[in-house]
C-alpha cells in the first residue's frame, strides 16, 4: 500500500527543482529582479496560485483546443460570418486583431522573461504557464479572425499596422512600457492592473458583443479562454500580495505602480469604450454601465480588501467617474475625424443608436454629442463627409490625440504641458502628466506617430505617402463604412443589394 501524498506537497515536489548556484553567483543567474527596489525576504513564502503540473496542463488545454478548433472549422465551412448582425460589427474585430492580439503576443514574451528571471521557482512556473496561455490567445485569435480576413478588409496587415499606425501606438506603447519595466512592475502592470482589475472591461465587452451580434467563432474563443483568464487573475493578485507581504517598504512602490498602470490601462480601454457604444450594432451594455459594474463595484470591493496593506484607490478614480459620461463619445469623434488614416470604418450612428445613447447617457449625450453627430450627418448628406487631413497632437504618455475635455467643462479640450531637458511635452490629462514626470527619462523616448511622420520616417510628406507606407488598400481598409467594399460585399452576400435573391448554388 503506497503512502499517500497530498496535492500540495506533491505539487511542491513537482516544481521546487532549483538550487542555490555556486559555480555562478545567484545575482548573475537572476540579474533582473533586484533593481526595482522590491524587497523579498523569502521566496519560499510565495503561495502557488494554482497547482497545475505540465501533464494536467497539456491535458486540459489540449481538450479545450480540440473543441475550439472544431467550432472554428465549422464556422468557416458554413460561412458563419454571414450570420452576424451587420458588417459594421466586424470593425470591433478589426480593432481587436490590430490592437489586442499583438498585446497577447507581447504578454507571451513578457511572461516568458519573468518565467526565466524571477528568483522564486513558484513564480517562474506560474509565469511560464501564462506565457504559453498568451501564445494560445494570440494564435487562436489570428486563426479565428482568419475567416473574417478572407471576407473583410482591415485585418490583412495587422502586425505591420501594430508597429506603425497612429492609434495602435496607444496599445503598443502600453505594452512596450510594461515589457521594458522590471519583472515586479510588469506583474503589477499586466498581472494585476490589467488581468485582475481591467480585463473584464476588455474581455467581457468584446465577448458579449460577439454573442449579441451572432459571432459564434469569437464567442467560443471567449468561453474557451475564460479558465485561462481565471488563472491569470489569480496569478496577478498573488504576485501583488506577495510583494506587499514581503516588506513594508514595497508598499509605496506598489502603490505608485498601481496608480500608474490602472490609468495606463484605462486610457487603452477608452478605445474599447468607443467600440462598445458605437461599433456594436447590438449592444449588450454601455461603457458607463460596464465601468460601474466592473471597476466601481468589483474594483471597489477589491480595494477594500487591499486596504489592510495600506493600498488605496488611485486618486484619479474621481476623474474616471466623471469621464464615464463622455469618454466613448469623444473617442468615437476622434476616430470618425481621422478615419482616413485608420484601418477601420467609422460612421455616424443612426437614429436608433442615438436614441439608445440618449437613454444610456441621459446627462450628456443629447446635450453635448447628439448635435455634433447630427451636424456631421447633415454634412455627409450634403456630400461633405469630413476627413481630417492633418495630424493630431497626441499625448506623450497615452498617445491618444488630444480630444478629452476638462472634467469641469466638457466643451474645453484639456491640455497639459511640461518641460524636460529643454523640450516641451504635451499631455491629455493630469494623471498622464504625472506618469511622465515620475519617469521622464523613459517617457521622453516614446515613438510618437505625428512627430515621426513630420520627420519623414513614415513614408514621406502628406497623407497619401503615409497611407502607402501603412500598406492600406485605400478606400477599402480606411474611410467611412458607407460606400466601402465591406458594405458592398455584405449587401451582395445578404441579398440586400436588390441584385437577386441571394441564394446561390453550391458547385
Amino acid at each position: 500500500m503506497a503512502n499517500r501524498i497530498n496535492m500540495r506537497d506533491r505539487y511542491k515536489h513537482m516544481t521546487r527543482l532549483g538550487w542555490e548556484t555556486s559555480y555562478q553567483p545567484m545575482e548573475k543567474v537572476f540579474p533582473y529582479d533586484r533593481y526595482e527596489g522590491i524587497k523579498v525576504n523569502d521566496w519560499n513564502e510565495w503561495e502557488d496560485p494554482f497547482r497545475m503540473t505540465m501533464d494536467s496542463y497539456w491535458k486540459y488545454q489540449g481538450e479545450k483546443e480540440k473543441k475550439l478548433y472544431a467550432i472554428m472549422d465549422a464556422f468557416s465551412q458554413s460561412n458563419g460570418h454571414l450570420n452576424i448582425s451587420d458588417a459594421r460589427y466586424v470593425n470591433a474585430l478589426k480593432l481587436f486583431l490590430q490592437g489586442v492580439s499583438p498585446l497577447e503576443y507581447q504578454a507571451h514574451r513578457g511572461f516568458a522573461r519573468q518565467g526565466r528571471h524571477f528568483t522564486g521557482e513558484g513564480a517562474r512556473v506560474a509565469c511560464q504557464m501564462q506565457s504559453l496561455d498568451e501564445l494560445r490567445h494570440v494564435q487562436t485569435q489570428v486563426h479565428g479572425m482568419s475567416q473574417y480576413n478572407k471576407f473583410f478588409d482591415g485585418f490583412h496587415e495587422f502586425p505591420w499596422w501594430h508597429d506603425r499606425v497612429w492609434y495602435l501606438s496607444v496599445p503598443k506603447s502600453f505594452f512596450d512600457d510594461a515589457n521594458s519595466a522590471g519583472p515586479f512592475e510588469f506583474m503589477v502592470a499586466i498581472g494585476f492592473s490589467f488581468e485582475y482589475v481591467l480585463t473584464n472591461l476588455l474581455f467581457v465587452p468584446f465577448m458579449s458583443g460577439a454573442a449579441y451580434n451572432g459571432d459564434m467563432s469569437t464567442v467560443t474563443f471567449g468561453f474557451s479562454a475564460q479558465s485561462d483568464e481565471a488563472r491569470h487573475m489569480t496569478l496577478g493578485l498573488q504576485a501583488m500580495q506577495f510583494m506587499l507581504e514581503q516588506h513594508e517598504d514595497n508598499v509605496p512602490i506598489v502603490q505608485r505602480w498601481i496608480d500608474k498602470w490602472l490609468w495606463r490601462g484605462y486610457k487603452v480601454l477608452s478605445l474599447v469604450s468607443a467600440m462598445m457604444d458605437y461599433m456594436l450594432p447590438e449592444s449588450p451594455m454601455s461603457w458607463k454601465e460596464a465601468w460601474e459594474m466592473y471597476f466601481e463595484e468589483n474594483g471597489g470591493a477589491l480595494f477594500n480588501d487591499l486596504a489592510r496593506y495600506g493600498i488605496t484607490v488611485p486618486s484619479y478614480a474621481e476623474i474616471c467617474a466623471k469621464e464615464k459620461d463622455h469618454l466613448s463619445h469623444q473617442v468615437w469623434g476622434i476616430l470618425y475625424n481621422h478615419t482616413a488614416a485608420a484601418a477601420m470604418h467609422t460612421w455616424v450612428p443612426d437614429d436608433a443608436k442615438m436614441n439608445w445613447l440618449s437613454e444610456k447617457y441621459p446627462d450628456t449625450f443629447d446635450k453635448y454629442y447628439r448635435p455634433r453627430f447630427e451636424y456631421w450627418r447633415d454634412q455627409e448628406e450634403a456630400g461633405n463627409r469630413y476627413y481630417s487631413q492633418t495630424l493630431p497632437l497626441v499625448c506623450q504618455t497615452c498617445q491618444i490625440p488630444m480630444g478629452f475635455t476638462e472634467i469641469e467643462d466638457p466643451t474645453l479640450v484639456a491640455y497639459r504641458t511640461t518641460e524636460y531637458s529643454g523640450d516641451k511635452y504635451h499631455f491629455c490629462s493630469d494623471p498622464c502628466m504625472k506618469i511622465f514626470t515620475d519617469e521622464p527619462e523613459k517617457f521622453c523616448q516614446a515613438w510618437m506617430p505625428p512627430q515621426q511622420i513630420f520627420q519623414g520616417n513614415c513614408g514621406g510628406e502628406g497623407l497619401p505617402a503615409v497611407l502607402e507606407h501603412y500598406k492600406f488598400n485605400l478606400g477599402a481598409d480606411n474611410m467611412d463604412y458607407a460606400g466601402s467594399p465591406d458594405e458592398t460585399n455584405w449587401n451582395k452576400w445578404k441579398g440586400l443589394d436588390g441584385a437577386g435573391d441571394g441564394q446561390v448554388k453550391a458547385s
Binding site: S22, Y23, Q61, A112, E157
Partner: protein, 331 residues
C-alpha cells in the same frame, strides 16, 4: 455519390493575411502553422528601451551574434502552434499516465532488482535539476530570441523540460513509495556529490550565457546530446538488461520526446549554419566549446554508472558527433 448541399457561395476577397501572401509571392491559403507564427513579433518603432537591458531594443536581433536575412527561416518541422502542440502532448501524457497506472497498480517496481533501483536513484533522480536548467535556458531563448517561430517553439520546448523533470519526480516517488527523501537525496547529490559537480558547473555556466543562439547550441545540442544519449539510451538499455524493464514504461514520454524534439533542434541549427559562413563559424565554435565541456563533465558519471564507462562515453560522443556533423555544427 456526390451530394449537392445547397449553400450560399460567397467568394473570399483574399486567402490569407497580406504579410504571409508577401512571403509566398502570391495570395494563396496558408496553413494554421504559418498563420500562427509568421511575423507575429513586433519589429519596428519600439517606444522605450528596456530598463533591464538599456543598450538593446525590446526585441533586438543583436542579442545573438548570428545573423539572418529572415528570422522566419527558423520554421519548426513539426509545425507546432499552441493547438497542435497541446493536443500532441495531451495524447502522449495520456499514454504515460496509463503506464504509470499500470505499474503502480500492480506494484511492478517492487520487481525491479535492488541494484537497478539504486542506479535509478543515483543517476536518474538528480537529472530533475538538469531538466530544470534546460527549462530555464529554453525560456531564456524564448524571452531573448528573435522571431516568433523559434521563440514560440522554445517556450514549448522549455515547458517540455519541466514536464520531463516532473516525470522524473514521479518515477522517484513511485520508487520510494512516495517518500520525498528520495528527492532530497537527489538534490544533495546534484549540489554536493563529486560525480555530479562537473555537470552542475556546465549547467550553471550555461545559465549566464548572454547569446541566446549560443545557449541554444549549448543546451539543446551539445549538453542534451550527451546527457540524454547517455542516460535515456545507454543507461536505459543497461537497466532493461538488468531486469528493470518496468522502468522503461515510465520513461516512455522522455525517450519519445527526445526523438521528436531533436528534429526541431537539428533543423534550427542547420538553418543557422546554412545561412552564412559567419554563422557556421560561430556555431562550430560554440558547439566545440560546449561539447568538450559537457563531455568532460559527464565522463565521471559514465564511469560511475557503467563498468565500461569510457567505451560507453565514446559511443555517446560518436553518436553526437555524427549528428552535429549532419547539421554542420562539427568542425
Amino acid at each position: 455519390m456526390h451530394i449537392d448541399i445547397k449553400a450560399k457561395e460567397v467568394k473570399p476577397i483574399r486567402h490569407t493575411y497580406s504579410h504571409i501572401a508577401r512571403r509566398f509571392g502570391e495570395d494563396r491559403p496558408a496553413t494554421r502553422y504559418q498563420e500562427a507564427v509568421l511575423d507575429l513579433q513586433p519589429v519596428d518603432n519600439f517606444h522605450y528601451r528596456p530598463t533591464w537591458q538599456p543598450d538593446k531594443e525590446l526585441y533586438d536581433p543583436t542579442r545573438t551574434a548570428i545573423t539572418m536575412e529572415d528570422w522566419y527561416k527558423f520554421l519548426d518541422p513539426r509545425q507546432f502552434y499552441y493547438g497542435n502542440y497541446t493536443m500532441a502532448r495531451a495524447a502522449q501524457q495520456a499514454s504515460a499516465d496509463k503506464n504509470f497506472e499500470f505499474v503502480e497498480k500492480r506494484n511492478l517496481l517492487a520487481l525491479v532488482p535492488a541494484a537497478a533501483k539504486e542506479t535509478i536513484v543515483d543517476f536518474i533522480v538528480p537529472l530533475r535539476h538538469y531538466e530544470w536548467g534546460a527549462n530555464m535556458n529554453n525560456y531564456q531563448i524564448c524571452a531573448m530570441g528573435y522571431g516568433a517561430s523559434i521563440t514560440s517553439a522554445a517556450a514549448m520546448h522549455g515547458s517540455d523540460r519541466l514536464g520531463n523533470a516532473q516525470y522524473i519526480t514521479r518515477i522517484a516517488l513511485a520508487l520510494s513509495d512516495n517518500d520525498p527523501a528520495i528527492l532530497d537525496t537527489g538534490l544533495s547529490d546534484w549540489t554536493d556529490k563529486d560525480v555530479w559537480q562537473g555537470l552542475r558547473k556546465v549547467v550553471e555556466d550555461s545559465l549566464v550565457v548572454d547569446d541566446w543562439f549560443e545557449l541554444f547550441v549549448a543546451q539543446n545540442l551539445a549538453m542534451d546530446g550527451i546527457v540524454h544519449e547517455l542516460f535515456f539510451e545507454h543507461l536505459e538499455q543497461k537497466l532493461n538488461e538488468s531486469g528493470a524493464a518496468t522502468y522503461s514504461m515510465l520513461t516512455e514520454f522522455i525517450v519519445n520526446w527526445k526523438t521528436e524534439a531533436s528534429r526541431w533542434v537539428d533543423s534550427q541549427i542547420a538553418i543557422a549554419v546554412e545561412e552564412n559562413a559567419a554563422n557556421a563559424a560561430l556555431v562550430k565554435g560554440w558547439y566545440k566549446k560546449w561539447f568538450e565541456a559537457a563531455q568532460r563533465a559527464v565522463a565521471p558519471l559514465a564511469d560511475a554508472a557503467f563498468d565500461n564507462g569510457s567505451e560507453v562515453m565514446a559511443n555517446v560522443t560518436r553518436t553526437l558527433e555524427v549528428r552535429a556533423a549532419k547539421v554542420g555544427a562539427a568542425a
